[in-house]
Amino acid sequence: MESLTYREALGRALADAMREDESVFVLGEEVGRYGGAYGVTKGLIEEFGPERLLDTPISEAGIVGAAVGAAMAGMRPVAELMYIDFIGMTMDQLGNQAAKIRYMFGGQIGVPMVLRTQGGTGRSAGAQHSQSLEAYVMHTPGLRLAIPATVADAYHLLRAALTQPDPVVFIEHKALYAMKAEVDLAAPVPDWGQAALRREGGDLVIVSYSRQVHYALEAAEALAGEGIEAAVVDLRTLNPLDFETIRPLVEAAGRAMVVSEGPMTAGVAAELAARISEECFDYLEDPVVRVAGEDIPISVSTALETASVPTPELIAATARRLCR
């Protein structure tokens, strides 16, 4: 067992992968000398040098495009997008190139790249540095999507992402970097594409991912004191989506809530709610409830920022009303 932060676990995953596989390299803004805007790659340049921790100009589209080309030419690039909010500049390279190359070219070649980025609220960083844009990625055929909630997953999902034959968007949460946990990096982990049941409970199934898993667990603790037992599923990857873990739980409980920090409309919560509603229809006693981010930009004001996304209190209060 080791005590690591989410940030450290990510850095360790990159280091271990680079040690094992010469073709792995990291590129992005401030990934080298600076050590990453959130410190994930701190210290790596000392061991791996500036070629494998490649500092780039501020050229997001170019960075992703370069990663695509490098991946096609036999490397395993890990491109870093400093904030997922900048994905708008890269969506052509990501959605029209990386995601479609294998298909358009009839399966001749894949694009085994990882795009590491981070999202979410929590730093009063304002409307262009606080978004949760995973739905854009989930909606794009051809992209895998991993989104770790725990320290162990920060490590294991990133290692797994680095073995995928297809492009993986890997979304960290800025509010989790300092989270610390005791982890056994050698312990068996769920397979890539398999959700983790973080808490059992027969009254309600809460399906979530990333930071909201912790909020859901916090809510579930509070609910347990009131006699409501909520299961909490951490999806870990949104593509592939592990519905087979969700199904039996919902069928048994008859109630489900999905929790996502991203804006509600046409987002990940919509997909999960639609999926559960259609697949578990005959077992549902109540509608599947969506607790998600508001359909508004995020304010820099801490008060408004906090109120713009789900909180443990909102999750618990909603669960109470649902299970009443």
Binding site: E29, R33, E60, M89, D286, V289, I296, A303, R321
Partner: protein
């Protein structure tokens, strides 16, 4: 504030206001009263803001980047409302929604600061197009850092400005660094104005040490833009402190930093004024008055309220238009079934 910019005294006062304001922003952060820590101080870059803005006129519009406090002040911003915005307060320019990186004021032609490197650049193409069509005689100026020179959108915007002979100007405040990346680590072509020239713009690079030089170059470039010849100006200066409030620039060489800080446009102007006979007492008075003004802005910000929660759903769309439904309202309805 008088907008008489002919004399160095005025230019100096404007620069000093920026310097002291930025110091107070740092203080706001230290006191835990800023909204977050993404505060980018423009200390060392005052001549770029003041020199260029002194060549602007009423009615001109502009966009800025994440390090734009100084530019906005030089265009006449009210420090109280700026500081309140930086603190995320209701009395700020944007009601506490925007913050340091998204300050704007239509009255002063400030079409907005931007947290996306390069994000505010193409808007000046549209604003200049509008000015040209409307015949207002105004120009539109995009301010950005050397880091944005590597964003493709800049070239799309410069090309359009040149193609359509727009009254648009692109001002690169080259403080030599973009976060932990020195300009020569971001590009081989550090002679920035050459790129703009290649797109057909009237382009210059000017040393930011002497604000009068900046004013001169800016006047040449902006005046040309006013008659339909778009331009580009790079102002060489140095980022005195860290990238954002928490950064201590460990990636920078100490001697380089010491040398860089010697290139202080505020100190240079002060020395020039003293040399030309300005009394020390007069300068000290000016400093004291500005310090008092900026201190007051901190008090104003701290004394102001957070925006009310009801403000949250406002301004997504125009008043009176269908608003996004709050999650709570949806939940109320869905959970209302018995």
């Amino acid at each position: 504030m008088t907008r008489d910019n002919n004399g160095l005294g005025d230019l100096f006062r404007e620069m000093l206001r920026i310097r002291i304001f930025e110091e107070r922003v740092g203080e706001l952060f230290v006191r835990g009263e800023s909204a977050g820590s993404m505060l980018h101080l423009s200390i060392g870059e005052e001549s770029a803001a003041v020199g260029v803005c002194s060549a602007m006129k009423d009615g001109d519009t502009f966009t800025t980047h994440h390090r734009g406090h100084g530019i906005f002040l030089a265009r006449g911003a009210n420090p109280d409302r700026m500081m309140a915005e930086i603190a995320g307060k209701e009395t700020g320019y944007c009601g506490g929604k925007g913050g340091s990186m998204h300050i704007a004021d239509m009255g002063l032609g400030h079409l907005g600061a931007n947290a996306i490197v390069g994000g505010g650049i193409p808007a000046v193409v549209g604003a200049a197009l509008a000015a040209k069509r409307q015949g207002t005689g105004a120009i539109s100026v995009a301010f950005f850092g050397d880091g944005a020179m590597q964003q493709g959108i800049l070239y799309e915007a410069m090309n359009m400005a040149a193609l359509w002979d727009l009254p648009a100007v692109f001002v690169c405040i080259n403080n030599q660094w973009g976060m932990g990346t020195r300009i020569d680590q971001a590009t081989k072509s550090t002679d920035l104005h050459v790129r703009a020239k290649a797109f057909g713009l009237k382009a210059e690079t000017v040393d930011g040490l002497d604000v009068r030089e900046v004013q001169g170059a800016a006047t040449r470039i902006l005046d040309a833009a006013r008659v339909g010849r778009p331009g580009f100006l790079a102002v060489d200066c140095y980022r005195f402190y860290g990238h954002a409030r928490k950064d201590k620039s460990p990636y920078r060489d100490e001697t380089e930093e010491a040398e860089g800080r010697k290139r202080d446009p505020v100190a240079f102007a002060r020395a020039a004024l003293t040399e030309s006979g300005k009394a020390e007492a007069e300068l000290a008075d000016m400093e004291a008055a500005i310090a008092a003004e900026m201190d007051a802005s901190i008090d104003y910000a701290i004394g102001s309220d957070e925006p009310p929660l009801e403000a949250m759903f406002r301004d997504v769309f125009a008043p009176g238009e269908p608003e996004p439904e709050p999650v709570a309202a949806r939940l109320d309805r869905v959970l209302a079934r018995e």
